[in-house]
C-alpha cells in the first residue's frame, strides 16, 4: 500500500531523527554538491540568464493574472484537439475522476510518469484501493515504490538513497512486482538502470492506460509539455490507448512562444544539463500517433486560494526545478522526509502550507520556520520566487493565528521583549541587569533550562556578559556628545567629496524626487541607485566570452557532449554514413518512416523496412530506426521531430534501441526560441537531446534507460 505523509511529525521533531543518520547525511551531501556544481557551470554558460529569469517571472505573473481566461482557452483547444477536460476542486475530486476513468477501461494496472501532482493528491493509494496497480516508471519513483518509501526530492525523489542501497532493494524486491533483478547485479549505476529497463519493458508494452502530470500547458494550442530524461515518459505518452494527465491549474502559459524561456531555464536549473534528454509536446489526440483517448484533469486543490494572497501567490510561479532544494543548507542536512510534505525544501515550505491552508495543522504550520532565511534559494530560483519573503509572510500568518486563539508562550516572550525594546531607558536598564548576572553560573545552568535559552545552550555556550553595554560605555566616555546629537547639523556623505552642505536639512524625510537638482541629493541618489541596480546574484561567475562560431559547429559539439555519435557528411554521403552507424551497433532489423529520402538508405547491410502501421508496441522488434528531423538547436544540442514527412510517429524514434537522425545544416537554429518559431504549434513533438539518460542514482548521469541507448546524428553540411 502506498505510504503517505499523513502521519508525519512536525519539522522540529522530525529533523533530529534524520540528522542522526550519517549515511543519509553523506548521501545528501554528495548528491546536492554534485548537482549544485553542474548547475552553476551550465548557468554560467548563458550570458542572459538574469534576463531570462525576469522574462520567466513576467510570463508567469501575466498568466496568473488572467488564469481563468487562459484555462477556458486551454479547455476549448484541448477539446477541439479531441481531448476531454475535467476540473477538480480538491484532491478527493481529482482522485474520484481519475479512478473512474481508469476503471472504465477495465484494467487492473496503469503505468505512471513521475508526477508530484499525483503524489500531492495521493493517487496511488486511491488506485490501489480500487484494485488498480499503479506502476511507477521513473527510475527514482520505482526505487521509492519498491522500498515502500516516500519521495524526498521534487526532481530526484530517491536522492536519499545511494547506489548500494538501491542495488540491495532491486535484488530484494523487483521479483515481487515482475521481472526480478539479475543475480550478481552490482551497484554500478548503469547496471542498475539496465535492470530497471528490463523490469519495466514488458509493463510499457502491455499498458492500456497511462497517467502523467505535465510541466507546462499552452492555452493557445491546448498543448501539454512533459520534460523527462529516461524515455519512460515517452513510453507512457505514446504506447497506451488512454492517457490521463493531472495538472495543477497554475501550469498554464499563454502562448507557444512562451515555452522557450522555460525550456531553457528548467533543465539547467534542475539537473544541470543544457537540455533534458526528452521533451514531449502534444495537443489532445493525434490520429495514428499515440493514445486515441486523452483526459486532462485540471487541479485546483488550494491554488486559487493561494492566488488570492497578493504576497503568497508568487509561489505559484514555481516550475518544480528543485534548484532551491539543492542549494538549501537545511535541506542538505535533513533531507526531504523531515518536511512531512510531498513538496519539501524551501519551495515546499512556502507552497505546502499555502495549498494546505497554513495554520490548519501543526506539520504545515512548522514549515515556514524550517529555514534560516539565508536566501540561497531565492538566488537560484529561475522564476525569482522571493522565498525568504514568503517564509516571513507565512510565519506572520501562523503567529497571528496563534495570537488570536489564546495565550501563547512565545507571543508572551515577544511582547516582553517589546516592553524593553520600545524604550532606550528600559533597554539600558535590562542591559545593566544582564551585565550584573553571575555569568559563569548562568552558563553552567543554561543547558538545563527549558525553552529558548535551554535550546540555545544545548550545543552553544552563552556569550560572556560584557562589563558594560555599548550604550553605557558611550554615555560614560562620550557623554557630552550624544545629548546634543539630535541638534547637530549633519555634514553629508559628500564631506568626503569636498562639497559643503549649503542649507540645513529638514528633519523629516522628503521623497528624493523633490530634491532633484541639488548636487548632494544627486550623489546620494546615484549611490542608492547603484546599490539598487546591483543584480540579484545567481551565485555564478560571469560567462566567459565565447569565440564566434557557426550554429552547426556548436550544435555538433553539444550533441557530442551528450555522448551521441556525430558524423559530418556532404549532401551525397548520407547513405554510407548511415550504413557505418548501423554496422557499429550491429542492427539487423531497421525501421524507417514513410517519406524518408530513399537516397539516405544504405545500399548494403541490413534491409530497411517502412513502418508497418501495426500497434506501436510491435515496433519493439526493430533494432534501429532512421529519421529526418524538423529543426535542430545549437545552444542545447537538440533535434526536434514533429511527425511530418520522413519522421513518422513518435514510437518509431523510441522503441528501437539505436536511433539515427539526419539533420541538414539549414535546419540548425541558434536557440529554443528560434526553434519554436519554426515549429507548427499543435503537432506531436519530441525534442531529443542525446540518448536516454538518468541522474536518479547519486545525481550521476548514466546513459541509456528506456529510450534508445545509442544516438547517431548525421549532419549534412
Amino acid at each position: 500500500m502506498a505510504r503517505s505523509f499523513r502521519d508525519a511529525a512536525p519539522f522540529p521533531k522530525a529533523a533530529p531523527v534524520f540528522l542522526a543518520n550519517p549515511q543519509l547525511r553523506a548521501n545528501l551531501r554528495g548528491a546536492t554538491t554534485t548537482i549544485r556544481t553542474k548547475r552553476d557551470r551550465l548557468v554560467a554558460e548563458l550570458a542572459d540568464f538574469e534576463s531570462m529569469r525576469q522574462q520567466a517571472e513576467a510570463i508567469k505573473n501575466d498568466a496568473l493574472g488572467r488564469l481563468g481566461d487562459l484555462l477556458a482557452e486551454l479547455e476549448t483547444n484541448v477539446q477541439a484537439a479531441g481531448g476531454t477536460v475535467h476540473f477538480a476542486r480538491d484532491a478527493a475530486e481529482a482522485r474520484e475522476i481519475i479512478v473512474a476513468l481508469v476503471a472504465a477501461q477495465g484494467v487492473d494496472e496503469v503505468v505512471k510518469v513521475k508526477s508530484m501532482t499525483t503524489a500531492e493528491i495521493e493517487l496511488n493509494g486511491a488506485l490501489e484501493a480500487a484494485g488498480i496497480t499503479p506502476v511507477e516508471t521513473d527510475l527514482a519513483e520505482l526505487i521509492v515504490q519498491l522500498g515502500d518509501d516516500l519521495p524526498s526530492h521534487i526532481v530526484v525523489p530517491a536522492i536519499h538513497r545511494n547506489r548500494r542501497e538501491i542495488r540491495d532493494l532491486f535484488l530484494a524486491r523487483m521479483g515481487e512486482h515482475g521481472l526480478a533483478a539479475p543475480d550478481g547485479l552490482t551497484d554500478s549505476p548503469s547496471e542498475l538502470a539496465a535492470a530497471a529497463r528490463a523490469h519495466l519493458r514488458d509493463r510499457f508494452l502491455r499498458a492500456k492506460v497511462a497517467i502523467s502530470g505535465a510541466n507546462f500547458m499552452v492555452a493557445e494550442s491546448g498543448t501539454l509539455a512533459i520534460v523527462e530524461s529516461e524515455g519512460n515518459g515517452r513510453m507512457c505518452l505514446t504506447l497506451p490507448e488512454t492517457l490521463i494527465s493531472l495538472v495543477g491549474i497554475e501550469k498554464v502559459l499563454p502562448t507557444n512562444a512562451d515555452l522557450g524561456v522555460f525550456l531553457r531555464l528548467l533543465a539547467r536549473s534542475a539537473t544541470g544539463e543544457r537540455m533534458n534528454p526528452y521533451t514531449s509536446l502534444f495537443s489532445g489526440v493525434h490520429p495514428g500517433d499515440g493514445p486515441q483517448a486523452f483526459h486532462l484533469v485540471l487541479l485546483d486543490n488550494g491554488r486559487s486560494t493561494t492566488l488570492a494572497d497578493p504576497v503568497g501567490r508568487q509561489a505559484l510561479r514555481c516550475i518544480r526545478c528543485a534548484a532551491c532544494l539543492n542549494v538549501c543548507p537545511v535541506y542538505e542536512r535533513v533531507g526531504g522526509h523531515a518536511y512531512g510534505s510531498v513538496y519539501p525544501g524551501p519551495i515546499g515550505a512556502v507552497l505546502a502550507p499555502q495549498l494546505d491552508h497554513v495554520v490548519s495543522d501543526p506539520v504545515s504550520a512548522a514549515l515556514p520556520f524550517a529555514s534560516t532565511l539565508c536566501g540561497a534559494c531565492y538566488a537560484v530560483c529561475p522564476v525569482r520566487i522571493d522565498i525568504p519573503r514568503l517564509l516571513v509572510h507565512l510565519r506572520a500568518r501562523v503567529v497571528e493565528h496563534n495570537q488570536e486563539t489564546g495565550p501563547h508562550l512565545e507571543a508572551a516572550a515577544m511582547a516582553a521583549a517589546m516592553v524593553v525594546l520600545a524604550s532606550p531607558r528600559r533597554l539600558a536598564l535590562a542591559e545593566r541587569l544582564f551585565s550584573a548576572l553571575p555569568g559563569g553560573a548562568l552558563r553552567r545552568l543554561a543547558p538545563r533550562l527549558p525553552g529558548a535559552l535551554g535550546a540555545w545552550a544545548i550545543a552553544r555556550d552563552l556569550p560572556p556578559a560584557p562589563a558594560a553595554s555599548f550604550r553605557s560605555w558611550w554615555s560614560h566616555h562620550r557623554g557630552s556628545q550624544p545629548a546634543a546629537a539630535s541638534q547637530l547639523r549633519p555634514t553629508a556623505v559628500l564631506g568626503l567629496l569636498g562639497a559643503r552642505l549649503s542649507r540645513p536639512r529638514r528633519a523629516t524625510s522628503v521623497p528624493p524626487t523633490e530634491r532633484s537638482g541639488d548636487a548632494r541629493h544627486k550623489i546620494l541618489n546615484d549611490l542608492a541607485t547603484l546599490r539598487r541596480s546591483a543584480p540579484v546574484s545567481s551565485g555564478v561567475p560571469a560567462p566567459l566570452p565565447q569565440p564566434a562560431r557557426s550554429a552547426l559547429e556548436t550544435f555538433l559539439e553539444r550533441v557530442a557532449a551528450y555522448d551521441a555519435s556525430v558524423t559530418r557528411v556532404g549532401p551525397g554521403e548520407v547513405a554510407p554514413a548511415v550504413q557505418a552507424a548501423l554496422a557499429r551497433s550491429g542492427a539487423r532489423r531497421v525501421l524507417v518512416p514513410p517519406g524518408l529520402q530513399a537516397a539516405w538508405l544504405p545500399t548494403a547491410g541490413p534491409t530497411c523496412e517502412q513502418d508497418p502501421g501495426e500497434p506501436a508496441a510491435m515496433l519493439e522488434r526493430y533494432d534501429a530506426a532512421i529519421t529526418a528531423c524538423a529543426v535542430a538547436i545549437a545552444e542545447s544540442g537538440t533535434v526536434v521531430l514533429d511527425g511530418t514527412s520522413g519522421q513518422g510517429r513518435r514510437a518509431l524514434s523510441l522503441l528501437p534501441d539505436h536511433l539515427i537522425v539526419v539533420v541538414s545544416a539549414d535546419q540548425v537554429v541558434d536557440d529554443v526560441d528560434q526553434a519554436l518559431a519554426r515549429l507548427r504549434p499543435g503537432t506531436p513533438q519530441t525534442w531529443i537531446s542525446g540518448p536516454s539518460a538518468t541522474s536518479d542514482i547519486e545525481l550521476q548521469r548514466v546513459q541509456g534507460v528506456h529510450g534508445p541507448r545509442r544516438l547517431d546524428v548525421i549532419a549534412i553540411a
Binding site: M418, P463, L524
Partner: protein, 248 residues
C-alpha cells in the same frame, strides 16, 4: 564627515567591543561619530519570527530616530538588510506609505560598516595590523540581501600581518537564523558544526564576519567544543592600529 552609528541591540548588549571598534576606526580616519541614544532595535527578531505588528512599531521608531542623518553606519549586515529590505516589504504588506518613504530615504544613507568604508569613504587600508590567521565568514544577509561583494576582503587584505585562510563552503549559512537556532536547535547545530569544522580545518585562529549574530552563535559553539578559535567582528580587527598613518 559626521556619521551616525546604529549599533544594533545585539551588539549593544552582547558585543559592545564591536561597536567601540567601529567608533575607533572611523575616528582614526578623521570622521565624527554620533550615537543617537534614542535607538533601540531594528525589529529583525520580531519581523523574521512573524510578529509584524511589533516589528512595525520598531520600524517606525527606527525611521524616526535615524531619518535626520545623512550617513548611518551599522556593524550588522542583517540589521541593515532588515531596514532596507524587510521594512520595504513590511510597508508594502501593511500599506504604510510613510514607512515606505522613510525606507526609500534610508536606502541612500544607511551603510553596513565595510560598505561605508570601501564604497563611500573609498578606504581599503585603515592602518590596521593583526598578525594572525583569519577566516572570513560572509554572512548570508551580507551576500544575498545587501549584495556585498568583496568589501570586507579588500579591507582584510590590507591589514598588516594578517593571513586570510580560505575555508570550504565559505558562502553557506552558519545555521544561526535568529529564532531558528532555538526552534530548530538540532538543525542549527548541525550547520554550525560543519562551518566550525571547515574553519578549523583551514587552520584559522580567528573567525571574522560582519554580523555579530553569526559570531555569537559560532563563538558559543566554538567555546562549547573548546576549539582553539576566537570570533571577532571585522571592525575589531580593523581597530588594531599598526601605529602608522592610514593610507587613503
Amino acid at each position: 564627515m559626521q556619521i551616525a552609528l546604529f549599533v544594533t541591540c545585539l551588539t549593544d548588549a552582547l558585543s559592545p567591543s564591536a561597536g567601540k571598534a567601529v567608533v575607533e576606526v572611523l575616528e582614526r580616519l578623521g570622521h565624527e561619530v554620533v550615537f543617537p541614544e534614542a535607538q533601540t532595535c531594528c525589529g529583525q527578531m520580531h519581523l523574521n519570527s512573524g510578529y509584524r505588528r511589533e516589528a512595525h512599531a520598531l520600524a517606525r521608531r527606527f525611521v524616526a530616530v535615524f531619518s535626520r542623518f545623512d550617513a548611518i553606519v551599522t556593524p550588522s549586515a542583517s540589521c541593515a538588510g532588515t531596514v532596507l529590505e524587510g521594512y520595504r516589504n513590511l510597508a508594502e504588506d501593511l500599506a504604510d506609505g510613510e514607512l515606505a518613504a522613510g525606507v526609500e530615504h534610508l536606502g541612500a544613507t544607511l551603510y553596513e560598516f565595510s560598505q561605508l568604508l570601501v564604497d563611500v569613504l573609498r578606504v581599503t587600508d585603515v592602518g590596521a595590523a593583526f598578525p594572525h590567521r583569519v577566516a572570513y565568514h560572509p554572512s548570508c544577509h551580507s551576500l544575498r540581501v545587501l549584495h556585498l561583494r568583496d568589501q570586507p576582503l579588500q579591507l582584510l587584505a590590507n591589514v598588516a600581518g594578517l593571513e586570510l585562510v580560505e575555508h570550504a563552503d565559505r558562502e553557506s549559512c552558519c545555521g544561526f537564523g535568529g529564532t531558528f537556532s532555538m526552534k530548530n536547535a538540532a538543525t542549527s547545530t548541525a550547520m554550525m558544526q560543519d562551518k566550525l569544522q571547515a574553519v578549523t580545518e583551514a587552520g584559522a585562529e580567528v573567525l571574522c564576519s560582519v554580523d555579530s549574530s553569526c559570531l555569537t552563535h559560532l563563538g558559543g559553539g566554538a567555546s562549547r567544543e573548546r576549539l582553539p578559535l576566537r570570533t571577532m567582528h571585522l571592525a575589531e580587527i580593523l581597530a588594531k592600529s599598526r601605529g602608522s598613518a592610514p593610507v587613503h
